[in-house]
């Protein structure tokens, strides 16, 4: 298990934003950090990876401290064996796609590389430089580059947002299969509920810098942190509805399943068939 309990205040001019999180993540599983925009999801990933330093707290992975401010333990980022897909992809514009992939790891696993190139449909892009590609293409390359590093931890910050729906669904399935095969730990930031319910085996809901609820995805809607709207998904299974949680109401998009609008304070039950 990865356990974290830390505090951090980001100061930017007159604004400040505080993270105060106690959460745990399952190892060798797909964990999703779910929350609204500005909730602190990306900051959580950055703090877990050591790219940003916490003010105080602890990160413990399998009884080993990555970070402990009490005894001043700090495992440098590059020793945590994390591959990270940033929201802006972080692809190097001076290198072609192939060079980006090969730069990521010495003695790259060619079998895995070929598989990833095929699965992420990158064959025609290999000789191109990232700046000449669309956002969705760049996102796939960033994901491929992270996977070929064969990391122990794969940190994904909204990794599939720019990809069209058909391919996104395919990539979600591939990610699930690959995770089972490679046994790495995924911590993925998402605000797409459908994605969360499809890929996650553990969900951590973040709101205003705090982990408000966590557990298996079927409990995800138990507490919606932003508008205190409560909802419970009472069985697991293939998701056939898409749910959008808005500030003022909850809308079930497929009206033939449920068409009622919910207001703040309502408690709802959503059955997934």
């Amino acid at each position: 298990m990865m356990y974290c309990n830390f505090q951090k205040t980001y100061n930017s001019g007159k604004r400040s934003f505080s993270i105060d999180i106690e959460a745990s993540f399952q190892l060798n599983a797909i964990n999703v950090v779910y929350g609204n925009s500005g909730a602190g999801k990306t900051s959580l990933l950055r703090l877990l990876s050591g790219l940003d330093k916490v003010d105080s707290g602890l990160i413990r992975v399998n009884k080993k401290d990555w970070l402990n401010t009490k005894n001043k333990t700090f495992l440098p980022s590059h020793q945590r064996e994390i591959a990270y897909v940033f929201q802006d992809y972080g692809l190097f514009p001076n290198m072609t796609v192939t060079e980006n992939l090969e730069f990521a790891k010495k003695d790259i696993n060619q079998t895995l590389l070929n598989e990833v190139v095929e699965m992420l449909e990158l064959e025609t892009l290999l000789k191109t430089k990232p700046n000449h590609l669309s956002g969705g293409q760049q996102q796939r390359i960033a994901l491929a580059r992270a996977i070929v590093q064969e990391p122990k931890f794969l940190f994904l910050d909204e990794p599939l947002t720019a990809i069209d729906e058909t391919l996104r669904s395919k990539l979600q399935t591939y990610l699930i299969q690959l995770q089972k095969k490679q046994k790495f730990t995924v911590i993925m930031v998402s605000h797409n509920l459908q994605e969360v319910l499809k890929v996650a085996s553990h969900v951590c809901v973040i709101h205003q810098g705090k982990a408000t609820s966590q557990g298996i995805p079927s409990l995800l809607l138990k507490e919606n942190p932003k508008n205190t709207l409560k909802a419970v998904v009472i069985s697991s299974g293939t998701l056939t509805i898409d749910v959008v949680v808005e500030t003022q109401k909850m809308t079930i998009l497929k009206e033939n399943i449920l068409s009622k609008n919910y207001t703040i304070g309502d408690e709802v039950e959503i059955k997934i068939h």
Binding site: A83, G90, F92
Partner: protein
């Protein structure tokens, strides 16, 4: 026309540009990465030549490096290095005087790069040297070109510092800008004009090439 001042000018500009580039890269990398409280002081010192009259800089060089001072005396007697009225002194003075022209473009270029480039490479376990040479510098080529060219062009145009620290020794410290001043003093306007025209043309061509390259005009023509 005596070509020696021109050759000396280009020799000084070339050496200054190369050495300053080697100094500026680690300095800029440090300035971009650091959260040290000394950073504003270093940035201020780097930028000083922009606002300081060249004669002030030249004067202090003269004072501190003169054989009459302890340091200057030690340099000359112990190491046999004479910095005042020598070409070596000119190089050191030029490096300091042109510091902001190299540092500012490169620092701006590095600052403008997304943080995720460095962070991705750090997480990959790449060394600082690899990150700098394979990731950062190749992505700020226009900024590097601007720094190199501005430094070169600025060194060509140096006058005050050169006159103070180097004087006017033919073949040693008499660069083109000094030669122009010399010719004007002796009312030899034709020679002054020849030097001036050459410096004017070269400066124009150098700066134009930067704008053409950085603006992508040459690539467009090639395509």
């Amino acid at each position: 026309m005596d070509f020696e001042p021109l050759l000396l000018t280009f020799k000084l500009a070339s050496i200054t540009t190369i050495l300053l580039f080697l100094i500026a890269i680690p300095l800029c990398y440090w300035l971009v990465q650091t959260n040290s409280k000394t950073k504003p002081f270093v940035e201020t010192l780097v930028s000083m030549p922009l606002v300081l009259p060249p004669t002030v800089l030249g004067f202090y060089f003269l004072v501190f490096l003169s054989p009459n001072t302890t340091f200057g005396n030690w340099l000359e007697n112990m190491l046999g290095i004479k910095l005042v009225f020598s070409f070596l002194g000119l190089i050191i003075a030029s490096i300091i005087y042109s510091l902001p022209f190299m540092v500012h473009p490169i620092q701006s270029g590095l600052t403008a790069l997304p943080k995720s480039y460095t962070e991705t490479a750090v997480l990959m376990g790449k060394s600082k040297w690899t990150i700098l040479t394979k990731v950062l510098l190749p992505n700020i080529k226009p900024a590097i070109l601007t720094g190199l060219v501005l430094t070169f062009a600025h060194t060509i145009g140096e006058f005050g510092v050169v006159l103070m620290i180097g004087g006017n020794i033919p073949g040693k410290t008499k660069v083109a800008s000094i030669a122009i001043y010399d010719e004007v003093e002796t009312l030899n306007y034709a020679a002054a004009n020849q030097y001036s025209l050459i410096l004017l043309s070269i400066s124009f061509i150098i700066l134009l090439s930067v704008y053409l390259i950085n603006g992508g005009y040459l690539k467009r023509t090639i395509r």
